[in-house]
Amino acid sequence: MTRTRCQNSLQPIDSDAARLLKILGSRRLSALQNAFGGRRLWIPKAGSNLRCSVCRFRDDCIRSWRQQGVSIANIAKRLGVSPKLPISVSEEPMPTCDQDEIAFVLDEQLYPLEAVQNAVYVFTDRAYVRVERAEPDRLKVVMTVKADAAPSARTALKGEFDNELIHQVLRQRISTSNQKIREFIVTKALVSAQPSALVAAGAPAPAAAEGDACPECVDTAAPAPAAPQIDAALEKEIDRLLAEIESGDGAADPLGVSVPWEEAFGAKGKAEPKAVEGAKAKAPKAKAPKAKAKRS
């Protein structure tokens, strides 16, 4: 701490006192010491409304301003005080509006829990996040901005979250709608490339039911469309393929990656693979990986 010496007592004083000495001069400082010496002083910021902030009707005014719709930030600025004071006086919940904390309530019928959780997950580098149930069908998200987040990240957080939430809702719908198809493709690829009964039979995909597609697509609260009939057929096919895998020798290692070369292919690499029977008739020819040097 910077130290100087009082001109009168020659005792060391701290930097605040030294600044006061410079601003007021020794005579006025001495008068200040006589009046307030030893007491803690609050000096309002320049431009603040000192009279209002200490007025005995201050709290009534705060409540009145809030009823008129004046924002917490404006009241705080008008009085030259922290936003916590008008929040406290107007008996509004403290956590809902802090400089570093954002809280909002979401309708779970519009934004399913999984989509909300996925959305907040994206922000875990910039904020500490919490999802809680505010009331039935209402989710409350509380995000506390991390101290090291960039100022621009703080201001954009809410808007970015809104957009991310919408993306996550759509992603969830795509995933749910197509889950069976993806499972089927992967299972089929892992088992073999043989044509499935479904495709061989050329079963046509069901036509869209009337009213399924909404041109404007704004009513997101509408119940999810029923799964297409094709899913039921795919599910049976997946079960059949999985049963095929499980009935093979290599259930624990269906791709045979832990079977030594000589055991799988014989001493001269000619024999047919043993562990991949039932999983894949022909192992694809391996491709040498690219050199992956880390250093030299």
Binding site: V105, R171, S196, A213, P289, S296
Partner: protein, 498 residues
């Protein structure tokens, strides 16, 4: 506050809209699917696609149909076959086998990920006995293609064991009949004509580090006995000349440090000057010496991406000046582009799902210890044995390949298990490194949107899709892959129901 009405969320057409992922890129919406097929749509096209509003005959609809996005037009046989082709590495087993012949090194690289030791300490030299056990274990891999990569330290510091492994592996392969590749990762400072000729006669590939112009390279890679850059570039040119038109060759790569950030153009130009086929720009990783020197040579992902963008644009600029038959590539971009523009997977072990740890590669330390991967071995040097899965000569190959750690890493790096990756538009082109997640974020699963490697990957892919919108760039990218325009369209006919 209450969230606004979600008017922007369209209702899916359950009949027309097949599986896809999306992301905003370059002012458009990129849609991709599990086959790596992609298309950039404007807002209206995207909305119409999602809601089933696209009409047959519309070029956008036809392209989406061709690429397997239209649900009621999918040929499951063909799609499953292409899926299997893109993921064929799942059936291969470990193909890359990293062997550390010594931890000794005569360089003191600021970022040394391997925590190399001084030249006097011979306690970390692999013995011939251990080397024999390691090669025996390598050949137990069920893969029909094997790459043995010599790493260190500086592998040439233990030259007798390098020679032994080359000879023993070659001899052993006469029986096994595999496709055998040998790569020597070396700083070239201990190279001489005799060693070079011996290695070239046996078809050994070379890979070295050249960190750009001398003023960057020699600061990044101090060598007490001389100028590292001068020595590396001298031998690079000699070996490059001797391996022209051969199956084996020499490649170089660089690790980007803070010292490189201001010189993207100079670095690219340096690679062209020495006659390299391209440049491989790789970010720093949090292993070994790089942890201690991070404050001096580290950077943010934004800084790396700004550097990378300038370097990539310089590479594209050079390509415009060169004949189309002699392209000059950037290797990171090339790996991604192979996945974006073709149905083939380059089997780059860091860009797979699951990653290659234990199922695509294994790393063998000087004492025969087996690790899931080179990164796992690097952590071992930092005092962490988490990724140790066995020892050559003890136990069996199956015990290592089926080790619980290998299984855990496969589950963790499977992008379908990752909260964000499973829904990310870049999933078909990407991969995570669970060892880096473990080092950076404390667990092998990691948290992808907030992980530095993820941010760099997404930034590079954003840049590539942006540049791909320019037809001239697309032509250059195709030349890097030797993919002719129309090849994908021919293959794409597969996806249409006959």
């Amino acid at each position: 506050m209450t969230a606004p009405a979600p008017t922007a969320v369209p209702v899916l057409d359950p009949v027309k809209t097949g599986p896809f992922r999306f992301r905003r890129v370059a002012g458009k919406l990129l849609v991709t699917n599990d086959l790596g097929r992609h298309q950039l749509l404007d807002e209206k096209q995207f909305h119409d696609f999602v809601t089933g509003g696209l009409k047959e005959g519309d070029p956008v609809y036809e392209k989406l149909k061709t690429d397997g996005f239209i649900r009621d037009q999918m040929d499951f046989d063909a799609i499953a076959a292409v899926w299997a082709k893109r993921n064929k590495f799942l059936w291969q087993g470990p193909t890359l086998h990293v062997i550390v012949t010594t931890l000794r090194c005569n360089h003191r690289c600021l970022y040394c990920h391997a925590s190399a030791l001084g030249m006097a300490d011979e306690t970390t030299d692999m013995t011939e006995e251990t080397a024999r056990k390691v090669v025996d274990r390598v050949f137990e891999s069920p893969s029909s293609a094997i790459t043995i990569e010599f790493q260190g330290g500086e592998p040439l510091a233990n030259w007798p064991v390098v020679k032994f492994i080359v000879e023993y592996a070659t001899e052993k392969n006469k029986t096994a009949g595999k496709s055998l590749w040998l790569n020597l990762v070396t700083n070239l400072s201990m190279m001489d004509a005799e060693k070079m000729d011996w290695l070239l006669e046996r078809g050994v590939n070379f890979c070295t580090s050249i960190d750009g112009p001398a003023e960057v390279h020699d600061k990044n890679r101090p060598w007490s006995s001389g100028a590292s850059h001068a020595e590396a570039t001298k031998w690079f040119k000699v070996i490059d000349k001797k391996t022209r038109n051969k199956m084996f060759r020499i490649d170089a790569l660089l690790t980007v440090t803070r010292l490189s950030l201001g010189k993207p153009v100079e670095i690219v130009d340096e690679y062209e000057r020495i006659g390299a086929r391209g440049v491989f720009l790789r970010p720093l990783n949090p292993y070994g010496m790089a942890v201690a020197t991070w404050n001096k040579i580290g950077y943010t992902h934004q800084e790396f991406l700004a550097f990378y963008e300038k370097a990539l644009d310089r590479v594209l600029e050079l390509n415009r000046k060169r004949p189309a038959s002699k392209p000059f590539f950037e290797q990171t971009a090339r790996l991604y582009l192979a996945k974006i523009m073709t149905d083939d997977d380059p089997n780059y072990l860091d860009l797979r799902s699951p990653c290659g740890a234990g199922i695509g590669q294994m790393a063998y330390n000087f004492d025969g210890s087996v690790f899931t991967c080179d990164e796992g071995r690097m952590l071992n040097r930092m005092g962490d044995d988490t990724f140790l899965i066995g020892k050559a000569g003890e136990g069996t190959y199956a015990e290592s390949a089926g080790h619980p750690v290998v299984r855990a890493l496969a589950v963790a790096s499977n992008l379908d298990n990752q909260i964000e990756c499973s829904k990310c538009a870049y999933k078909p082109y990407c991969g995570i490194c669970p060892v880096q997640c473990y080092k950076e974020q404390g667990d092998i699963t990691g948290r992808m949107p907030t992980n530095s490697r993820c941010k760099i990957s997404m930034g590079v892919l954003d840049l590539l899709f942006d540049r791909l919108q320019d037809k001239k760039n697309e032509k250059i990218f195709r030349s890097w892959l030797k993919v002719r325009k129309g090849d994908n369209e021919k293959a794409a006919a597969l996806y249409q129901r006959g």
